[in-house]
């Protein structure tokens, strides 16, 4: 029985969040997003030239996301630089989470590169990365139908909860399910959905509902961060 969350949060409470836009001056667009101690930067370069040529698409620009954890970002051992199969997979699902909102038809043969880097990770890193990337793409002035907001939901023991932290992902006294999910705020459509763990089907519906609620808050934060940057006329 998972009675109380280890950090004292309510079951549907997200960790303290923070969002800021325009944090990497050389990039065309940039932002960072935090869920508690998980901190993700995203920088966008593009549209720009794409080499090698065989990767080019003559009908539209392509989106290329690269997710990477800094060597000192883990609360355990150092993370060997150079990525892993895990980070490559996260790069892929991140790209697929963001593509549905982007319109790259105006940029044939070019690429929009998104680099996601994390100085600190404590679960929920791919969701933090997606939240930062969505803001960075908007900051870069790209045409987007919508932003994308992401959060992890899941089950720990007998409780359904939002924004699992590191200790909850590693919970050993009962079944766990970890579900990162990304949603387009205005249409409610889902662009990222993954799960590992054990979960009855009915609980999935409930969890998606909880995710939507959390994503509404996340969207407001992303919106405010974007407006904040442009308010000062930058």
């Amino acid at each position: 029985m998972y009675e109380k969350r280890l950090d004292g949060r309510d079951f549907d409470e997200v960790r303290k969040m923070e969002a800021k836009v325009g944090v990497i001056k050389r990039a065309d667009g940039s932002a960072y997003f935090k869920f508690g101690n998980t901190w993700a930067y995203a920088a966008v370069y593009g549209p720009r030239n794409l080499y090698p040529k065989f990767l080019q698409d003559p009908s539209r620009g392509i989106l290329r996301c690269n997710y990477n954890m800094m060597p000192f970002s883990s609360s355990g051992e150092r993370v060997r630089p150079g990525g892993s199969r895990r980070s490559k997979e996260i790069s892929l699902v991140t790209t697929n989470a963001l593509l549905p909102v982007l319109d790259l038809d105006e940029f044939p043969n070019s690429v929009v590169d998104v680099f996601i880097e994390l100085p600190q990770t404590e679960a929920g890193s791919r969701c933090a990365g997606i939240n930062a990337a969505a803001m960075a793409l908007a900051d870069a002035g790209l045409a987007m139908k919508d932003l994308v907001s992401a959060v992890s939901v899941g089950r720990v023991g007998d409780k359904l909860l939002v924004d699992l932290d590191y200790s909850e992902e590693a919970y050993e006294e009962g079944p766990v399910a970890d579900i990162p999910i990304a949603i387009m705020p205005s249409s409610g459509k889902i662009t990222l959905l993954q799960m590992d763990g054990l979960l009855p089907k009915e609980d999935l519906k409930t969890l998606i509902g909880m995710a939507r609620k959390a994503c509404r808050r996340i969207y407001n934060l992303q919106k405010t961060a974007l407006k904040e940057k442009y308010k000062s006329g930058e």
Binding site: D28, P47, R48, N49, F107, A138, G141, L142
Partner: protein, 227 residues
């Protein structure tokens, strides 16, 4: 009767609901979904009658026919030069469009324009695949010598030029610098070193305060203080 959820000069983000009602027309950078009108990028709201559009605040330059831009030569081939346009798309300057002089076959083209040099050119054609051709034939189009080049957001170019060129003329007058503003966000400044730096700082100030009123006056006093 439809209604607007935002007002003139509001900053909006992608996906934000701007208005509702079939009698309101979605214009540039907005789209209709059902009876709602939604923002398609980060921008400034501009409402004219029953039409709503967004003015972009950021984004890279996209080459457009007839734009006058500043380019950097990056490569030389047998029939011309390849240039960087400060966008995702390089442009080609053919020998024919570079000069009216007769150039014999096999002439060393570096005599005319070398790699690393900057030019002011006009975009004469952009294909659907975004292949861009430029020309240096025409008034005000030429090689740039000396001076410095700075990069600004292409969306701030109209503000830097000003209504009928009023802002850039004022900058030139007060600092006695030569200034060329490219539609692609590159600006060339040439004059006394201190004045060049002053122009650069003034332009950064214009970028920052672009949506305020009385900007020309405020920049004028900034320049006067700095001189």
């Amino acid at each position: 009767m439809g209604k607007f959820f935002v007002k003139q000069k509001d900053i909006v983000v992608p996906g934000e609901e701007l208005a509702e009602g079939m009698d309101i027309l979605p214009s540039v950078w907005t789209y209709r979904e059902g009876d709602k009108i939604i923002a398609r990028r980060v921008g400034l709201v501009d409402i004219k009658g029953r039409t709503i559009k967004l003015i972009p605040l950021s984004g890279k330059y996209i080459p457009k026919k007839n734009d006058v831009i500043i380019c950097k030569v990056t490569d030389i081939s047998f029939n011309g030069w390849r240039v960087d346009t400060n966008s995702a798309y390089p442009a080609m300057l053919s020998i024919r469009e570079a000069t009216s002089d007769y150039i014999a076959k096999g002439t060393d083209l570096t005599q005319y324009l070398n790699i690393g040099e900057y030019i002011v050119a006009k975009v004469i054609n952009v294909t659907s695949q975004k292949l861009v051709d430029i020309s240096m034939k025409g008034p005000g189009l030429h090689k740039l010598r000396g001076g410095r080049i700075i990069r600004v957001s292409p969306h701030k170019v109209p503000r830097i030029i000003g209504k009928q060129g009023s802002m850039v003329s004022m900058l030139k007058r007060e600092t006695k610098c030569q200034i060329v503003v490219g539609q692609n966000g590159l600006v060339w400044i040439k004059g006394e070193p201190d004045k060049e730096l002053l122009v650069e700082k003034a332009i950064r100030k214009i970028e920052k305060e672009s949506h305020t009123t009385g900007l020309t006056e405020s920049i004028k006093s900034f320049l006067e203080k700095g001189l």
